[in-house]
């Protein structure tokens, strides 16, 4: 890079040059931490490559970019890059390609958009902001880190492809929208929050669900024996809920016209979770 281009900037484009041999830990590489840095300064920042600290410039070409606010754009197959946007507290991150595990984990504000697919534990313990994955997400998305008591607890999480198993495990607040199919144990141990899914769901959906809401915009699964129908008139809340989901378009656009059946469960847990089956 010529020194003339090496000026302070708020936004950077990082292009992956070659696949790292081991996992790269991108935690801490958030736009706000890099604001006012020069591209060569960014390239010198150390990150963990397996057990070794190396400068990010070993793997990425860094250039400054014009943008309204703090922003990072990553290009390439980042499926070996973990922890991207961990604890993000503002600014924007865009990944043009796939990304590894823990994307957006614990993020509190700001926006992350991944055009490809994400690995395990995407949006785990997410507390605010917006995370959109254009492809699929692996297991334990919107859930808790191993051993932790609370999963996703705020914000908006959109998955345009399929979700793996245990999506929303222990989730307690926020909204997650899945356009494709979901794996086994969708919304297991859900404490609260809203999950809307347009595809088919795997086995044990709603296992141990205590409160919270599940909306099935596509195929209507058979509620398990520990869920029971209720005769409540839910038209008022349904109108509001359907309107808030309609902005996501596709299968969620026309929900308002339906009159959903409502089931509650899991009666083996707290039993206050609800399934809304509009078709």
């Amino acid at each position: 890079m010529s020194p003339a281009n090496d000026r302070d900037a708020n936004a950077f484009r990082l292009r992956l040059r070659a696949q790292p041999a081991l996992r790269l830990d991108l935690a801490g590489f958030v736009p706000q931490a890099l604001g006012g840095e020069t591209p060569s300064g960014v390239a010198r920042r150390a990150l963990w490559h397996g057990n070794e600290q190396v400068p990010i410039g070993e793997f990425f070409d860094v250039e400054a970019m014009a943008a309204d606010g703090p922003e990072l754009v990553f290009e390439g197959d980042l499926s070996r890059c973990d922890g991207l946007g961990r604890g993000l507290d503002g600014g924007r991150i865009r990944v043009e390609g796939d990304v590894g595990d823990y994307v957006g984990s614990g993020m509190r504000a700001g926006e992350i958009v991944v055009t490809g697919s994400a690995g395990l534990l995407a949006a785990c313990e997410m507390a605010g902001g917006r995370l959109e994955v254009g492809g699929d997400v692996g297991d334990y998305a919107a859930s808790a880190l191993p051993g932790d008591m609370d999963g996703m607890r705020g914000g908006l999480f959109i998955v345009r492809g399929k979700a793996g198993a245990r999506f929303g495990d222990r989730m307690r607040r926020g909204t997650a929208v899945v356009f494709g199919d979901a794996g086994d144990f969708l919304a297991s141990r859900l404490v609260a929050g809203t999950i809307a899914v347009a595809g088919a769901v795997g086995a044990h959906c709603g296992y141990g669900m205590r409160r919270g809401t599940l909306i099935f915009a596509g195929p209507q699964p058979e509620p398990p024996p520990t869920f029971v129908p209720t005769g409540h008139d839910v038209q008022v809340i349904w109108t509001l809920l359907a309107r808030s989901l309609a902005v996501h378009g596709g299968p969620f656009a026309a929900l308002a016209a339906a009159r959903p059946r409502r089931f509650v469960g899991d009666l083996a847990a707290d039993g206050k979770g609800e399934w809304l089956l509009p078709a």
Binding site: N51, Q53, L145, P146, G147, D148, M149
Partner: protein, 558 residues
Amino acid sequence: MSTLRLKGGRIIDPANGIDGEVRDIGVRDGRIVALHPAEKVDREFDVSGMVVMAGGIDMHTHIGGGKVNLARMLLPEDHRANRAPDNPLELASAGCCTPGTLATGYRYAEMGYTAAFEPAMAPSNARHAHMEMGDTPILDHGAYVMLGNDELMLRMLAEGQDFERIRDYVGWTIHATRAMGVKVVNPGGISAFKFNQRKLDVDEDHTHWRITPRQVVQTLARALTELGIPHPLHIHASNLGVPGNIGSTLATIAALEGLRGHLTHVQFHAYGTEGARKFSSAARELAEAVNANPNVSIDVGQITFGQTVTASGDTMRQHANADLGSPRKWIGADIECDAGCGIVPFRYREESFVNALQWAIGLELFLLVDDPWRVVLTTDHPNGGPFTSYPHLIRLLMDKSFRDEQLAKLHPEVAVNALLRGIGRELSLNEIAIMTRAAPARLLGLADRGQLGEGAAADIAVYREDPDREAMFTTPEYVFKDGELVVQRGRLVATPVGGTHFLEPEFDPAIERMLAKYADEHLATAWRHAAIGRDELCACANGGRLLACPLHGRGGRK
């Protein structure tokens, strides 16, 4: 043969009556020796202007065994909270309130500590405890074996068996588990919990065995005295954490009837029921009792604010506290005919009236007991807070204005009314050296540790003078373990394997027939595997040195 000299340090060595004398310390082959000033040495350290003390000894810290490991497994978030530092000597190990074995050794050594003792080793878990401690680098270690809730002892007491047989059983247990002492946890209470009792006062009957905590304490204290065990009975008294428990704590002291006893984490046992909230400090009553009973020693179990985890053998009390867990999870476990275990994560909060008062009570106890030789500085790691808070605690004890500053941040009712406000005492460096080195060594019977006299082990901590005592005790200039430099400027430079302190008391081998029969009838494990031999202990201890401790009096035949 290697020699070294620490030149011109200010020596604080209360065991030898030295308080601030400036002189050199010589070391040859890991022992402190008198070196002629002209004698050439392999390495000389200029420590002029610095404070030289023996290595710290923590005599009550949960660092190995079943419940410690359960606490680690319960709190993976604790191990995510920090990242391995950049010292290539350190192997991967993490954790703040439940550090892994390696991090435990590293962090202790970095503060100038060279020995730590696990206070609650269940006999059936003894191997595990020794192996974890063996895996803990740098530190010498040992453990107190838990008795007094095992079904066998309670049955022997209930059947009125001869005291000598119970004594032999105690002696066998210490010998077989290679322990450094005996701890009794909520005497009889862990067993009573299994029979659905939810509290047990000192003179209350165990509903099944019809014996009382008083009998258990008396029997064990007498047994240890007759066996010549240097460390007095280590007592976690009844009713831990219960408002008004000062009554059972004083009754436990009375139950000793003049025999030696060490009351542990007394901060949790010094509560009254005064005031609108029916929770008050009874530090003065307890301190007066300790001052009046020279047979009693204590460690405090100070709390510090922030996240920690409580890990105890006291299933009865941990079950009662489980709803207070933060994060909201806990483990309770029964240990076959032997003991119990409860793990409850906890966050001590400055804005909580109860926690603020606990904090004040701990400090009051430190400051109201007159004789520092009978008070040991502990946080009951990790129950009151992690051991890494010791430098902060030392500053609180040495600096009245800092203490007042901290007190003012707490719950207003405590900040205004605490007995602590009126206590002006500031501990001296000499008193800190007693509470963190000399006293624990003496209470454990470690003649050549906790002091800097000729012939003592060269476990030495050198601190750079700093009016901020927290900073001073956080980053020692040099730490030596058996004469080897292990820490320089607060950074590890070597990680040798520590040694194991243990006892081998005598007992009548006839007891073994009875024990074998009991194990055969009631236990899942084979009795012939119960005892840990010396070779096995050495293997458990990662090849570290075996430091057999001499016994007192007539039990001391070797």
